[in-house]
Every structure is written in C-alpha cells, then in structure tokens.
Symmetry: C2
Subunit: 305 residues, 2 copies
C-alpha cells in the first residue's frame, strides 16, 4: 500500500512520490481510501445505503458508487448542478454503476440530502450520508482516518530508507486528506510542513475546515500550523491554466506520470513553485491523490479546442 | 512488480489477477514492460531514435512515445490509417508527446518504415525499428523478454503463497506477451496451459507468430502446445459485443477493476467462458495487460451512442 518511490530531481530537491493513484480499485486515489473507511463505519453502524455528494467531476462520488456496489449496498449520488456541457468521466461511471444519480443546485444541498435520507428510510434502508449531518459536517473523524494511516506508511518508508521528508505536498480540496496526514504528524509530535495546495477554496475557508476536522479527529486543539496555499488555484475549481496543462503534458510524456490539470497537476505545479520560492533542498514528498478520469476529461477538452 | 492478488471466486475457480496495468509509468500495461526491454536493447546498440508501428488505439505506440521521450530519444510513431472518426486516447497521447506521428495504409507499412529509417539516418540518428526489419520480424527475442521475466514473478508468488495456477489467461494480440510467458514455462519444464485469448488474429496466424517468437527466444523447437483461442474475438480487432461491454461495466462497478472492451475485457470474458466450458476449479491467473486509455475510449463511445 505504501507505493513510495523516488520520482525526479528538481533544482536541489529530491522529489519522491506516493502513488495512491495506483491503489488498484476503481482508478485508485485518495477518495477510494477514504470511502473504504466510510464503508467500515457503515458496517459498524449497520447501514446499507450510502449517500454521497459532490461535483460532476468528483472522484468521491465515483469511489462511493463503486465501493457501495462492491458491498451490495444501495447508493444515491447527489451531483452539484453546474450547467456545463459534456459529461465528465466520473459522472459517467456513476451513471453506469448501480447508484441512483440526482442533481441539485448548490443552494439546495441540505434539502436534497434530507430527501435522499427520507426516501431510503421509506424503502426500509438504513442510510448513511458521507459527510455526516445534512448540513455536511460531523463525519470528519471517519473521513480523515485513511490518511492518518497513510502518514504511518510514510514514516515506515522513511525509516526503511533512512531519509526524512522535509515537506509533504498534496492537492487539497475539502481538506480531509490533509487533515488526516496532519493528525498523523501531530500524534507523533512531528512539526514538518504538510502543505495542501488548494484546488478551489481560499485559505480562510480551507484552514477552518481543516481545523474542524483536526478537532474531530484529535479531540483537542493543536498548534501545528496549517499550510493551505490558495495561490495556485489557476482559476478555481475545475479550471486550469496553460502552465499547469503544459506541466501535465510534460510529466506524462517525459516521466510517465499522469496528472490532471484541475487537481494533482495544480498541486504538482504549486509544489515546484514552492521549491523555487523557498529554495527547498533534500527529500520532498508529493502525494499523488489520483483522479485519473480527470486526465481523460482534460484530453477530451484539449482535443475539441 | 509482482502485483498479484486474489480477485474473485467464479464457480469452482479462484481467480487471481496480476495487475500489470498498475506498473506506474504511462498508464502501465504489458507494452510498457515490453518497450522497457526495447530501450535497453537500443542503449546496448547505441541507437537513439525509436520507430514504432501500430493501430491508432495501440498501447505499444503510446508506450514507445513516452519511454523514448523519457530517455531523450527521438521517436517516430507510424499509425495504421483506418478512416475511423474520432481520435482514440492513445493516438492523442502520442500526438501530445515529442514523437513525430505519421500515417500509412496497411499495405504500405514496409515502405513507410523504410522511409522513417532513412529520414532518421539522414538526420544523423541511429534508428531502431521496434519489430526488427522493415517487414516487421526479427526482434521477437527482445519483445518477448519482459514476459519471460514476468513468468518468474508468477512463480515467486506461487512459491510464497503455496499455490499453483492451473491456467494463465491473457489477452493476446501479436502474441509477444504470450510467447514470453510460454518461454518462461518451457525453460522451467512446466506444462501448464498459458491461454491467449485472441483479440484480433485467427488461430492459425496467431499460433504461427507465437511459434516464430518462441524459436527466436529459445533457439529450438518446442512441443508445448500453443493455446491461442480465436473464438472470443467479438467482431475482431477494435470491436466488441454487448456481453463483453456489460462484463466490463460489472467488473468496474462491482469489483473496481477497469477492463476495456477490445483487449482485456474480451480476454476476461473468454476466461470465464473457458472456466465454464472446461469446468475449471482451483487457482487460475488472469494477467491484466493494461490498456487503460481504451476504458475511456469505450466510455466516450457509449456516451455518444
């Protein structure tokens, strides 16, 4: 499960990569690891219907649909309507799965979740909303668990190789992956920087979500500084710029590494710029959080443009 | 590199899978392993320009373009013209790489290869045609090497787990992967069935190519029977049928396993039908030979239909 290896030298930094895109279930990625923990929690609570929510490009939604089907659970996937033309691959894979797909505007999420919960109950199911309560909070302890474990995998690797990563970089959206890693660091008393490169939220919103998740996980306040960088968003969620797209092209063709321009590509680009800015040297770790369908979404978009 | 694990029970068979789709370079797959050996051979011979040939959906072409770029070699990819609309992802990734793409009809391959060799030489390069001579033979010993090694990985797994695979199933196109595995079995004196499910060629043509490759690899005749099944081609190269597509859908949604309907999906379907037909029981191995871009090609096609 570790999947950590040396990737490339960049200036004075040695970039290592943790390939969680290669987990082997449903195109891999952090969301598969996270939903595996959700499934365990569902079993513990006797639930048999999973409700997920996210954008039409959401890897979480796709992981939820596939893992629910594997377990024989029914599943409702709620997509945030965005009015965009063309169907992203993650949306397609959800629609091809056994999950029910529904759509709602961003201002109607709570009611839609409540409706889905009610409907499942009426069908005799015991439903579980992936984020907790219908307002989307309360399940942070479960959603962060996978990457607290992943932190231990990183430690094992460091011990076995006799190296120590100065920084850990990753794409950060809702912050659950970053919070999990940070909780791991905190529990070991480590002070190293775990740097989330925001793919959407501004620093304030992102930092608050991580604080909340850390409290849910650790049951105490922490003084570990939260590094949630919002300067590499290249136009916000789902968007990207020429520089990031060119980096993705280069990393795939020249290093065989698939990065998508809206999640991991932004994070990788942000990491390189941080290495430049702070003149980092020595071993740095990048966590590849998956999102392979986005690599193909981007290719489709480029083909048509 | 082994990547072997238990996948699922099917009737009395225990299906194990070797995930060579998860190699981690350029969407993985057997062709990446095979081209890695080509690159080593190029270095041994002092070559610095790789020429590849294949269909527009060819994973070999894409692996060649990406591995050549990684090495800093120049590369010419020759695509077989097929007049089909829409661009397959493998063709797209080649065009996005640093490789030069050229197209030719299936009756003009030799001349096109000769032209590409000449042009590279004129530019001061030392070119290397992936299949050997311009008529497409002569390099079987190199092209089969990777899966002779893979056979040893399978053995290692069997020894460490205390099991023995009755049959090894895989998608078979030009037969290089199958020949490599068979050479491994022969060198160990093993008689087990290595079953290639043809994705295109008929039994006669497929068997002859494998015989030729085995001779090139082993320098002697062999009496190991060649199992190259052409009854599961579902319409031939690049085609597929409803049953295979439904199996692909089911394996992705319910088992998290991405299969494409023109290579690995056909092979997986063929394996299940062979298990039925021959009432196989106990451990059977399926080699996932990759071809992830084809999963997305198929999704695109289904979306539009």
């Amino acid at each position: 499960m570790k999947n950590i290896s040396f990737l490339m030298k960049y200036k004075d930094a040695d970039i290592y990569i943790k390939r969680d895109d290669l987990l082997g279930f449903s195109f891999g990625g952090n969301k598969v690891r996270i939903v595996e923990k959700v499934i365990l929690d569902m079993k513990k609570k006797g639930c048999d219907h999973l409700i997920s929510y996210g954008s039409r490009t959401s890897n979480l939604n796709r992981a939820a649909a596939h893992l629910a089907e594997r377990e024989g659970f029914s599943c409702t996937v709620i997509f945030k309507e965005d009015g965009r033309e063309g169907m992203p691959f993650n949306e397609w894979f959800v629609k091809e799965s056994g999950a029910e797909s529904i759509y709602c505007g961003p201002d109607r999420v709570r009611e839609t979740v409540e409706g889905a919960l009610r409907k499942a109950e009426e069908l005799g199911k015991k439903p579980y909303y992936i984020y907790g309560t219908p307002d989307g909070t309360g399940n942070e302890a479960v959603l962060t668990e996978a990457y607290t474990e992943a932190y231990d995998e990183i430690l094992e690797f460091e011990v076995s190789e006799g190296i120590s990563f100065d920084h850990i970089f990753l794409a950060s959206g809702t912050g659950m992956t970053q919070s999990g890693l940070m909780a791991g660091a905190i529990s070991h008393g480590h002070k190293r920087e775990i740097v989330g490169i925001s793919v959407a939220r501004d620093e304030k919103k992102g930092t608050e979500a991580i604080k909340r998740a850390l409290y849910a996980r650790l049951h105490r306040e922490t003084d570990l500084r939260i590094h949630f960088l919002d300067g590499y968003r290249s136009g916000g969620y789902g968007a990207s710029d020429q520089e990031v797209r060119e980096l993705c092209r280069h990393m795939l063709s020249g290093h065989g590494l698939p990065l998508d321009p809206v999640y991991t590509g932004k994070a990788f680009s942000g990491m390189l710029r941080e290495i430049d800015r702070k003149k980092l040297s020595g071993p740095q770790l990048f966590i590849h959080t998956g999102g392979l369908p986005g690599v193909f979404d981007a290719a489709c978009k480029d083909m048509l443009s």
